[in-house]
């Protein structure tokens, strides 16, 4: 049986006035049922476009999937006709967006919006959909679900809206739930509640989750597998243990070193990765990360590194990292202090 979702060499490019933006350039991963994949990277590294490409939601004609396959249960989403993709969206693959304040339509009652996908995909009547909606809202922890379903989005708080969004995404019992930075717009306590809710919902429904975030803490909490992206490319991919305990790419080292820590002096400086992520129109030649990498060698600006095996479940796109030690993070940190 084919895996639930298999992405092979996905490349999504955007045509702009200034040139071609390679937002996603060769991404491959496999997602098994019930598992969670964490996708991390800086803003503009192609995380969201990867997610949108999986659901074929990239705005055409500016954006196009130019290469690769997205195999959902063995069937290529890229080659499906529109009607088939629409039947997939919201039913088998659902998505939760970043900002719960704007992702609910202000003119419709919350319950009606959740019910819409039930009526669309499951052919339910209005009243059946409403009953199911009440169950869903209750499940995601909204008190007085029957009454609150009749409220408008502006009568909900941010945390409740994100709960409603989760209910909406789970309405049709999808196989895959894509969460695009679902907690970024929420405050810290609500973030924790929402993550907890997502984990609980996953246990209950058995949905696989693709968690897009730039919060490594979130990934550490939830993910089975982790994919690190930089400038549209996959730089490291492996199990959470591989990536967190045996990272093999200097960019991942930098990300881990930049985390604030509880166990050191609170006055200690944060250790950011020096420099800025590159513009996707002028990606540096060779390894895109080399201008910011403390270990860069002359070869790095020439050869585009390929994903190399770093273990049975682990790949990284740096041919030289094997000879370096992650302790070298300290060097990176030194640069952060010298600003």
């Amino acid at each position: 049986m084919p895996p639930l979702l298999q992405v092979k060499g996905l490349a999504t490019h955007f045509t702009t006035r200034d040139g071609i933006v390679k937002a996603v350039d060769g991404v491959s991963f496999t997602l098994e049922a019930g598992k969670t994949l964490g996708v991390v990277g800086e803003s503009g590294s192609g995380k969201s476009v990867t997610a949108l490409s999986i659901m074929r939601l990239v705005q055409e004609p500016q954006g196009r999937i130019v290469h690769g396959e997205v195999l959902f249960k063995g069937e290529d989403v890229v080659k499906m006709n529109d009607a088939k993709v629409r039947a997939l969206r919201g039913d088998r693959i659902a998505m939760i967006f970043q900002d719960p304040m704007t992702s609910l339509n202000p003119v419709y009652r919350v319950g009606r919006q959740i019910g819409e996908s039930l009526m669309l995909h499951k052919g339910m009547s209005k009243s059946e959909a409403f009953e199911r909606t009440v169950e869903l809202l209750d499940m995601v922890g909204i008190p007085h679900a029957r009454e609150r379903a009749k409220d408008y989005p502006h009568q909900f708080s941010g945390g409740m809206r994100q709960r409603a969004m989760i209910a909406m995404a789970l309405a049709c019992d999808p196989d895959i739930l894509i969460a695009d930075e679902p907690t970024t717009a929420l405050d810290v306590t609500i973030q924790a509640q929402i993550l907890e809710l997502m984990i609980e919902m996953q246990d209950r429904t058995g949905a696989a989750i693709i968690m897009i975030t730039h919060d490594l803490g979130v990934v550490a909490d939830m993910a089975d597998d982790v994919m690190v992206m930089y400038a549209g490319k996959q730089v490291e991919y492996g199990t959470a243990d591989d990536v967190f305990y045996r990272p093999r790419h200097p960019y991942t080292w930098g990300l881990l070193a930049s985390l604030p820590r509880h166990d050191v002096d609170e006055k200690a400086c944060l250790n950011p990765i020096a420099g800025q992520p590159p513009s996707l129109i002028n990606v540096p030649p060779g390894c895109a990360f080399h201008p910011r990498c403390v270990h860069a060698r002359p070869e790095c600006s020439v050869e585009v590194p390929e994903l190399l095996s770093a273990g049975s479940t682990h790949v990284a796109a740096c041919p030289y990292s094997a000879g370096l030690t992650p302790e070298a993070c300290g060097v990176l940190a030194g640069r952060g202090d010298a600003r």
Binding site: L88, M95, F97, M101, N105, P106, L120, E147, S157
Partner: protein
């Protein structure tokens, strides 16, 4: 959106709550319990439950808009029922009275607004003139709305070459002086009551299309449109169920105000002899007839002028009220 203060709705508890959301012990004073599932907050915080209900509540508080609405309703009622009561009390608006002394009478009980130079009753002419004005206003704007909404929606939602074509066509329309274009159109179509509203309607679409297009463009960028697409909604569904209802508010405002504008244009065209033809009473036509007699018989200009002014103002005030009432973000 700004962070809002703690809202007890987030953590509903059964008893009364203090500002921090902690349950307050009420000893002695028992609050009336609400029946069934009703919660503490429902009655206190928001009574209204629908968007249109909310809008209507806000509109009601706007005195100017309500004044406009009431005036429009009075004019509409008087006009629609004119056949029932005007003939009973007043002279026919069209019948010419050639008896000596019948023309240019100043206002009296018999002729509240006086008579014109052909001895016709000005009051009944003003009342029947409202028919022409309102009909032209509403029909012309309807034509503009049909064309404008269709093209605006196409332009905003499709974008690309369609958008460019529609918007450049609109620019061509804008490039002509409005009144001259209207006169030219009527010169081609021939001056008549029907052709007036057709001409005004055709000239009105570019503004509607533009307003609707820009409104759609901004609504389209919202995340809930992406969410709808991610939910599997078709283009058609997204357009009509998700984009349109959110983009329509500026059109309601603009459309209402346009009715006033169309009434003025009708009056102007009739004044110039390009609109409604005599003997049909029309406010603009009455002004035109009266212009040489302004100092001899001021009532001939005052009353149709007053009618135009108040009716147009009423539509503008109402439109303005709609603008405030339909703004979801404006919480009272």
């Amino acid at each position: 959106m700004s962070p809002r203060p703690h809202d007890p709705r987030d953590h509903p508890v059964n008893g009364p709550v203090d500002v921090c959301g902690h349950e307050v012990k009420t000893e002695g004073t028992t609050l009336p319990t609400l029946p069934g599932n009703a919660h503490v907050y429902d009655s206190a915080v928001t009574a209204s439950r629908t968007l249109w209900g909310d809008a209507w509540r806000r509109l009601r508080k706007n005195k100017l808009a309500i004044t406009g609405l009431v005036w429009i309703m009075i004019v509409v009622t008087m006009t629609l029922t004119a056949d029932l009561w005007v003939p009973l009390f007043f002279a026919d608006p069209i019948a010419v009275n050639t008896e000596p002394g019948a023309s240019l009478q100043s206002p009296s009980w018999e002729h509240p607004f006086g008579t014109d130079k052909l001895g016709r009753d000005v009051f009944s002419r003003v009342i029947y003139g409202a028919r022409v004005s309102l009909a032209v206003g509403v029909l012309a704007v309807s034509i503009s709305l049909v064309i404008g909404l269709l093209l605006g929606a196409l332009s905003g939602y499709r974008g690309g070459a369609v958008d460019t074509f529609v918007m450049r066509t609109a620019d061509v329309f804008f490039a002509f002086p409005y009144i001259l274009f209207a006169i030219a159109l009527i010169a081609v179509l021939g001056p008549s009551y029907r052709n007036v509203f057709i001409a005004i309607g055709i000239l009105g679409w570019p503004s509607i299309a533009r307003v609707f297009r820009s409104s759609i463009l901004s609504v389209k960028e919202n995340e809930y449109i992406d969410a709808a697409r991610a939910m599997g909604a078709s283009d058609f569904r997204i357009m009509f169920r998700h984009v349109m209802p959110n983009a329509i508010a500026p059109i309601i405002v603009y459309g209402t105000m346009s009715v006033g504008g169309a009434i003025i244009t009708e009056a102007a065209l009739s004044f110039l002899g390009m609109g409604v033809q005599p003997p049909t009473p029309s406010w603009g036509l009455m002004l035109s007839d009266a212009k040489s007699l302004m100092f001899v018989a001021p009532w001939l200009t005052i009353w149709p002028g007053f009618a135009i002014l108040t009716t147009v103002l009423a539509f503008v005030l109402l439109g303005d009220g709609f603008r405030d009432a339909l703004d979801v973000k404006m919480k009272d």
